[in-house]
Amino acid sequence: MDRVSYIGIRAIQVVPILLGISVLVFMLIHLIPGDPARTLLGPRAPEAAVQALDQKWGLDQPLLVQFGRFLGGILHGDLGDSLTYQESATALMAERIEPTLWLLVASALLTVLITVPVATLAAARPDRLADHAVRLVPLLGLGMPTFWVAIMLILLLALTTHVFPVGGFGRDFVGHLRSIFLPALTIAIAISPITIRSLRASMLEVLGSDYVVSARAKGLTERRVLVAHVLRNAMIPTVTVLGLNIGWLVGNTLIVEKVFALPGIGALMIDSILSRDFPVVQAIALVFAILVVLVSTTTDLARSLLDPRVRLR
């Protein structure tokens, strides 16, 4: 299959997934036991308010009509109104998007900065002490609750050095940088076990390939072989793994933003859950899922452009 039709097919495949995501998010409200409006507003809310909400959400109409309205809203950028604030969910998210974007970019960067040296160290001398130590990292990392790592970093780095604030987003660029470092480091610690394992495996694979043997036979130093030949070719799968794990990254922003009191979308979702603000929860779940699908599809396409061996099975 040629490149253009591969890209075309991958792009078309996204459409049913996006549609399915909106069905799933739409169905969330129907999983709430009893009358959703009553459950969300609480037992002491006046009957008139409950009925008004039922009517606003059209819960008395047929399911298909409800879904049509929901989908129409999405296409017009209308994801419903917050129950807590006098604002639309879209407006609330727009106010909070900046810290989340900072956090996502910074954690991706830090993850690469941690992954590359550690994986190289392990792959350069397989089954030696350093390699065994590195292979223990994923085993340890999997069981580390992100929120606990965040608290430990606050305890060990923020409270002792006073370089990094224990929470908030800072006021200017430097303030943002200092505030974002520990949250991003937390997420990088959560993700790197996966990326380290993957980069180590791809480097070992590349190390066994013919062109590395010939590079060695040419008399190149081991360091040059590693950096110029092995690392370069092993980077593609690592970036791919990072892209494909964007869901894990995004999911962790929820918890990290909450612990570090970063005013981002993730913390907004947790706060909305605690204040039973359903429309905002629904809107954020939808936006995060769409983001994940778009990023992982883009990663997949980028990989197919970089590596001609990747094709549809």
Binding site: P16, I17, G20, I21, L24, L28, I29, L31, I32, P33, P126, D127, H132, P138, L139, L140, L142, G143, M144, P145, T146, F147, W148, V149, I151, M152, I154, L155, L159, V213, R216, A217, G219, G247, W248, L249, V250, G251, N252, L254, I255, K258, M269, I270, I273, L274, F278, V281, Q282, I284, A285, F288, A289, V292, V293
Partner: protein
């Protein structure tokens, strides 16, 4: 010279490497089982290891430093931290193991059907899998627990609704490669029915991968349960849970850092034991 050197230095280590790898994995299995055994024993023997009730508050005794009476001190409500740690282990480990059981069964069943029959069931369930995978784990589980209602029941249902996906994918892939093997063809040629072939011949050969995955899945689910507990959506108070213990201790991190640190270490050690078992099991089953 160079070529000879490369042959000499690179061929034999490969053999040695395979041997050390096997030894490494066997040892990880034993080590993992040993750690988990100790943890389960401590959790099960909790009433013998501490005289305190983990839920009884004694406010006059709050935030006491570690002493002989209170090995790890007391929390902001005057409860013994060591007692809460042990009883929380009972809850969190057993809930994680139980919560993984349902998705394991559902996923394995669906994966068998998808792989063996293919066709529309593969298409429909496959689409559903893609859909669930599109959501970030924490976003989906927190949203589901929210709509289903916080607490253990909500956690069980949410984990089941999300978790089956990985098992179905793994089993489907395994079945696809097993479907055309000789033993399946032989069973078919003998005139056995589909149900008998799938359950008696295919399942025993493909289930090991799912069992290996279940080990790391228990870790992920346990961390998820602890996280939900931290957010106030999991194990309901005052039942001890490592997550809510960390939440309670977080405010006092500058003065009484043990309260928030120790439950996290308990999660890490439990996770490490299970991961070691999974890693070792994978290797033992492969050979």
């Amino acid at each position: 010279m160079l070529l000879a050197e490369s042959v000499e230095t690179h061929a034999p280590p490969r053999k040695r490497r395979a041997q050390t790898r096997r030894w490494f994995h066997r040892r990880t299995l034993v080590l993992g089982l040993a750690i988990l055994g100790v943890l389960v024993f401590i959790a099960a023997a909790a009433p013998l290891l501490t005289p305190y009730n983990p839920t009884v508050q004694e406010l006059s005794n709050a935030l006491k430093p570690p002493s002989l009476a209170h090995l790890l001190g007391t929390d902001p409500y005057g409860r013994d931290v060591w007692a809460r740690l042990l009883y929380a282990g009972r809850i969190d480990i057993s809930v994680a193991v139980l919560a993984v059981l349902t998705p394991f069964l559902i996923g394995t069943g669906l994966g068998l059907l998808m792989g063996y029959y293919g066709g529309w069931i593969d298409l429909v369930v496959g689409g559903l899998i893609d859909l669930v995978m599109a959501f970030p784990f924490y976003v989906l589980i927190i949203a589901l627990v929210f709509v289903l209602g916080a607490g253990l029941q909500g956690v069980f249902v949410a984990v089941a609704l999300i978790g089956w996906v990985s098992y179905a994918r793994i089993i489907r892939g395994e079945v696809l490669s097993a479907r055309d093997r000789e033993y399946v063809l032989a069973a078919r040629a003998s005139g056995f029915g589909d149900a008998r072939i799938v359950l008696r011949h295919v399942l025993p050969n493909v289930v090991t991968q799912a069992v290996v995955f279940a080990m790391s899945d228990i870790v992920v689910v346990m961390v998820g349960i602890v996280t939900l507990g931290y957010l106030g959506l999991g194990v309901p108070a005052p039942t001890p849970d490592w997550g809510s213990m960390i939440f309670d201790g977080q405010t006092y991190i500058t003065s009484d850092w043990l309260i928030a640190t120790v439950p996290g270490l308990a999660v890490v050690v439990t996770g490490l034991a299970l991961s070691l078992i999974g890693d070792g099991l994978a290797d033992v089953l492969r050979t």
